[in-house]
Amino acid sequence: MKTKRDHSIYPVWFVLPSLVIFAVFFLWPIVTSLYYSLTVWNFDTAKFCGLDNYKLFFSEYSMSSSVIHTMIYAFGTSALKVIIAFFIAIFLTSRIRTKGFIRSAVFFPNLVSMMAVGLTFSYLMHPTKGLFNVVIEMLGGTPIDFLGNPNTALASILMTDVWKGLSISVVIYIAGIQSIDRTYYEAASIDGATGWQQLKNITLPLVAASQNSIIILSLIGGLRSFELIWAMTGGGPGFATDVLASVIYKQYAAGFYGLSTAGNVVMLILISVIAFPLQHFLNKREEAMQ
């Protein structure tokens, strides 16, 4: 079917501004990071030291534990967003009348910065005066030190992240649901399918593409996340909420530039090892479902 088209009206140099900016300010530092992560570095001199930075990174609990925290955070936020946003999107594409208002309200947290959300929630989670604990006490429970207790701190930040980031997932789902052909549902109801069956057998398979985007986007966002954690706990208590990005910052602030860059490379590898195969798998699944 494909006819040979004349491409001469599309000048190749049009890609240059984007490509040059992207290559200089994004790609090149990544390439050089592979070398600098193998050095003792202070910007002026870089002394080659082999894999010492990586050895140190994985032998110190304060740093190695950040890999686990990063994974818990990324998979936790991603899973919750995928599930919760699906039901909100179903709700918002039904025939209820207040959906315009609710849609705006759900989108609202997106406008507020991570810093502001982080600070606000850290006060809502205050161990004695915070609203959450006031409500818990009213219901007869014992107050929880959400951010001060190492066992609950990471989960508390994770939930805040879900609250803030839900709307993008909802919007992507809504886009997917709205593009489904209505006649499928009409045919299904004539055949006597219940609402739940329609949801399971029509909506769910046909939003697979949207769902995959959400999984990938939120997972990568989670693996990189820094601001919310920095605003709410700064990595503490102890190292209980330190993630890769906060370790990178802490080592930078402490003057260990080589070590910080090694942390950056660890993050790069972690994301590549998780995201690329996952995307491949999700694309395969999407093809199989349709």
Partner: protein
């Protein structure tokens, strides 16, 4: 049929209540906190302020030698030039990538799309900026914001570009347009719907960015709005009322942007994701 109507009404009511509790209370909290006196704000309660202290907002502006004013100027410039630069460069790139679709362009696209996944390397970037003598300059900050958001912008543009018929360009060429005119006079104006989406998404991301200015634009002269929040948290100690006044002030520009482009966000995303 009647049962269904009742069910919908129930859905409306439950939906409204849950939305208000989950999504609006935190904002209500921010707002009332910003209008309280200092001791009242320190109680962190949801109650309406005994007296409205609008002067909190003025005090926040005056704090630290009008730091917030400088921050607004810096963030405004950063956001404006990032959005403008990205709208033009990404549109040019996406246009040629989508239309040519040959081996070279597929390769370039694959490289740029890597940026959606892999994280930036921070310290090598600082080192690069230092050796180019542009560290701590607005120019380098704009370039970095553009570089980081180029993959996303090209992806959105490319998806939308597919819906514009090629015949337009061929007709324009027959009418005697130059290659640049075909793009700037014919194609670029047609991209408006997706540009609205980009303006709000890129604008909000850049204005609300904390991490990148923290690394690449340090110094009190260079401070951006999100960094004021970070600084005030240390300086203002327990003046929660002023901290929340700052939060409200720096959220208002995004709220205005949202009100202007509200409808177009979803439309643009729908167009981009479906056709992409």
């Amino acid at each position: 049929m009647k049962k269904k109507k009742k069910l919908l009404l129930l859905g409306d009511i439950v939906g409204l209540i849950v939305t208000c509790i989950v999504f609006l209370i935190p904002f209500y909290f921010m707002f009332v906190q910003s209008l309280k006196s200092k001791p009242e704000a320190n109680r962190l309660s949801l109650g309406w302020p005994g007296e409205l202290h609008f002067e909190n907002y003025i005090e926040v502006f005056q704090h630290a030698n009008y730091q917030l004013v400088r921050a607004f100027k810096n963030s405004g410039i950063l956001t404006l030039f990032t959005v403008l630069g990205l709208l033009v460069t990404a549109a040019m790139a996406a246009y040629v990538i989508q239309r040519r679709h040959d081996r070279l362009m597929t390769g370039i696209q694959a490289v740029i799309m890597l940026g959606l996944m892999i994280p930036a390397s921070i310290l090598p970037t600082i080192h690069l900026l230092q050796s180019l003598h542009i560290y701590k300059t607005m120019f380098s900050m704009v370039m970095i914001e553009i570089a980081l958001q180029t993959p996303f912008a090209i992806m959105l543009y490319r998806g939308y570009m597919a819906s514009i018929p090629r015949e337009l360009e061929e007709a324009a060429r027959i009418d005697g347009c130059s290659k640049w005119q075909i793009f700037s006079k014919v194609i670029f104006p047609l991209l408006k719907p997706i540009q609205a989406t980009l303006i709000i998404l890129v604008g909000v991301t850049t204005f609300n960015d904390f991490t990148n200015p923290l690394y690449f634009l340090p110094g009190s002269e260079n401070t951006t709005v999100q960094l004021t929040l970070y600084n005030y948290q240390g300086q203002l100690g327990n003046s929660y009322n002023l901290l929340f006044a700052d939060i409200i002030i720096i959220t208002i520009p995004m709220l205005i942007l949202f009100i202007i482009f509200n409808k177009k966000i979803v439309d643009g995303m729908v167009a981009g994701s479906v056709k992409g």
